[in-house]
């Protein structure tokens, strides 16, 4: 099999031009020193409390996400291509969500079958004909990108509900600057630390029309959520309140928070709680994380939810295969970023192909996330594949299959020293008055040799992501 694309070294083992300086620097660093820096980073993350709870682990246990000190570097040119492609894609996705809750043009045009939308659990009939400010549904999007070769990027999935990880993008940069300040004199790295400013600007720009100075809050499920650090971090960096469901109440279709000085109106909620838990009156009635009546306030236009309710319809893996067509349909453009070829197991032909090639494919749940419930064919045993075949026979509609991409690798400091490990990238796209991005994203790395699963819940780590200035 062909070796995967290495971010630092070309096929002949020579460093790529933009990695040259780093490569020379890295050669001078001893493993002992790198080990010490790794330990220092872990200590700082722990002291500062940048920790992550892993589901299924002992209650209350906290872990740091392993941080790798070898950065992932993009040239300005590569980034420009990515950024243009990301803007295009997110713009089309927002058009799509508006469309499926209003005119349904894409269905009428026969591009997506109606049952794919209306039978999808992520479609929220409650949102039909509801207007949201600027017609934007997914203000915050995290798009997972992988590279298979020079200039060859694929979108692995779109995350349009409550994408997380952006705090690690910022904290990893701070950590790199702290551990290796000299590297930042050798390279001109575009800054990413202003992300919270852009986020606040974006959230304010989608305020309800009648509000002059919007009161923005971040809604968290609470401190036992795995991303609690990020919720509190973003609230603090934006200088807004971090609220839980019980801090809010709805009266006359308006949302208020309970403060020491009495109720205070809330206009924009950056919510990090899933649709299902947002409003016990509308969705799961046993949810204690939400606010009773929130949906009615949202529908009445008195409060903006970011992201809006019902965005899951656009990031579902069963809708993913249609995204390139959406770009053509809504924008009249050719997609800049590729989709990974996808077999929809609901189609008999695709299912047959999937069965015949289980050992070569990656099979995923259409509603799954976080690396749970998936099969990576080439990395699985015969028994695992057979077990998965059973799931697939029982519920073919719930699965899609994709060829196993040769994800690019990046040198990573592991126990045996510096060695290549597979990576992906999650850049964040903010849609408000305009679409904004910081140059960079969260690079996730699979720390196990050969592993393609980068999710932090599955033991993945993170790297700082550099976009070089011209």
């Amino acid at each position: 099999m062909k070796l995967p694309f290495d971010e630092m070294l070309d096929a002949t083992g020579k460093p790529r031009l933009h990695y040259q300086v780093f490569h020379d620097w890295l050669k001078q660093q001893s493993d002992t020193l790198m080990g010490l820096k790794r330990a220092e980073a872990d200590l700082i993350f722990r002291r500062v409390g940048i920790t992550f709870a892993v589901y299924g682990d002992d209650l209350g246990s906290e872990r740091t996400i392993p941080f790798d000190q070898v950065p992932r570097i993009f040239t300005a040119k590569e980034w420009e291509q990515l950024e243009t492609g990301l803007r295009q894609r997110v713009k089309a996705l927002n058009c799509f969500i508006y469309d499926v809750y209003h005119d349904e043009n894409i269905i009428k045009a026969g591009i997506i079958p109606a049952e794919q939308i209306f039978n999808n659990a992520q479609y929220r009939p409650e949102m039909r004909n509801v207007s949201v400010p600027r017609d934007i549904y997914a203000q915050i999007a995290g798009i997972d990108i992988v590279r298979a070769g020079e200039g060859e990027f694929y979108v692995l999935e779109d995350n349009l509900r409550v994408p997380s990880g952006v705090s690690y993008m910022v904290e990893d940069r701070k950590m790199m600057m702290r551990l290796f300040p000299d590297l930042f004199q050798k390279y001109r790295v575009a800054p990413v630390e202003h992300y919270p400013d852009l986020l606040l600007e974006c959230l304010k720009s989608v305020k309800p029309d009648d509000v002059k100075k919007p009161n923005v809050v971040v809604l968290t499920p609470g401190m036992y959520n795995s991303a609690y650090f990020e919720h509190s971090y973003l609230a603090q960096q934006m200088g807004v309140e971090l609220v839980e469901g019980k801090d809010l109440f709805v009266k006359n279709e308006q949302v208020f928070m309970r403060t020491t000085q009495g109720p205070e109106r809330v206009d924009v909620i950056y919510r990090r709680v899933d649709d299902d838990f947002l409003d016990p009156l509308a969705f799961r009635s046993n949810s204690t994380l939400g606010v009773a009546g929130l949906l009615s306030a949202h529908r009445a236009g008195n409060v903006t939810l970011a992201n809006a309710i019902g965005t899951g319809i656009a990031d579902d893996k069963s809708i993913y295969p249609y995204v390139p067509d959406m770009i053509g349909f809504y924008l009249g453009e050719k997609p800049i970023l590729n989709n990974v070829p996808t077999f929809q197991c609901r189609k008999p032909d695709d299912l047959a192909y999937t069965f015949a090639n289980l050992d070569k494919l990656v099979v995923k749940l259409t509603h799954g996330a976080g690396g749970y419930g998936m099969l990576v064919g080439p990395a699985s045993s015969k028994a695992e594949i057979e077990e998965f075949r059973g799931h697939l026979i029982a519920n073919p509609d719930k699965y899609i299959a994709q060829p196993t991409l040769a994800l690019s690798t990046c040198p990573t400091f592991v126990e045996s020293g510096i060695a290549p490990r597979h990576i992906d990238l999650r850049p964040f796209v903010l849609s408000g008055k305009t679409i904004k991005m910081v140059p960079g994203g969260l690079t996730r790395v699979a720390l196990q040799e050969g592993s393609l699963v980068v999710n932090s819940s599955q033991g993945g780590g993170t790297k700082d992501t550099w976009v070089l200035e011209e």
């Binding site: 002291r47 500062v48 401190m223 509190s232 971090l242 609220v243 009266k251 208020f256 000085q261």
Partner: protein, 326 residues
Amino acid sequence: MLSRTADCLYWMARYTERAENTARMLDVNHQTSLLPQPKDFLEQSWRKLLTISNLEEVFMSQYDIVNRENVLDFMIYETGNPSSIVSCLFAARENARVIRGKITSEVWETQNTTWLELQRILEARNQSDPSRLLEWVKHRCHLFRGVMHGTMLKNEAFYFMSVGTLLERADNTARILETKYEDQASLKALRAENKTSDDEAGVDFFDFYHWAALLRSVSAFEIYRQIYSDQVTPKQVAQLLIFNKQMPRSLVCCVNELIPLISEMKNQQSKEIERLLGKLKASLDYSDIDEVFSQGLEDFIEQFLERINHIADEFSSAYLIPLATA
């Protein structure tokens, strides 16, 4: 500010102060227990430590006998005991974690580091010398307050933390005074009963150490010397801990510091707290140690505790328990 945020700030400070005071109380008992004294009395003083915090029942459900080792274990490490040092530091850190966005990163890191260091101490639980551990607890709590004063904006968040600290401190100083005073009385009674051959000088000698230990437990031994330049007498000790306006852990000082804080954070429901505090201050201002002794110290302290805890309850319902839908 969110009521829930205020609640976390308040309890973070209260639990930190409680951890410190538990450490102080244990330290003084530990020190006095090393002095020569009747065995019955020794047991009684450890038992008393449990009763003032209403913990005797929980304790007896887990241990057979009341002795130094068991009480120290229970009051330092036992997570089933809500007032144990480990429980208090855990609760303080959990509260801090919830509202880490509302405190400076220095304050958060102080709380978090305390907790992380405590994990290491817990691993070596049986080897650690209680005095050193208790010193460490006091030191971490001092550090917390220093960092809080040195880095936080003097705004609402700071006020809620200060109120938590002061209410807890007033409560604890009163309790420490009450226990030790009763101890002393019961010791006298024991001695009278037994009519032992203890010479009078020996009794005085013990008295001195007893009161000195009490003063040390509230960091007031040197202060006492400085103010009274006199031998240590129960009456003056009580006077110092109740009435001295300059002594940071005295009851009067706590109440005096609370008043401007509350008037700074006025809301629609704070009138009652201001009234109660004003009344408490007036009754302290127009009283003196002789009056307290003629009323009976125990009685006085019981009343004080009732009033300060009533104020704490009112404060909770005015600011911390989410205001009703208006």
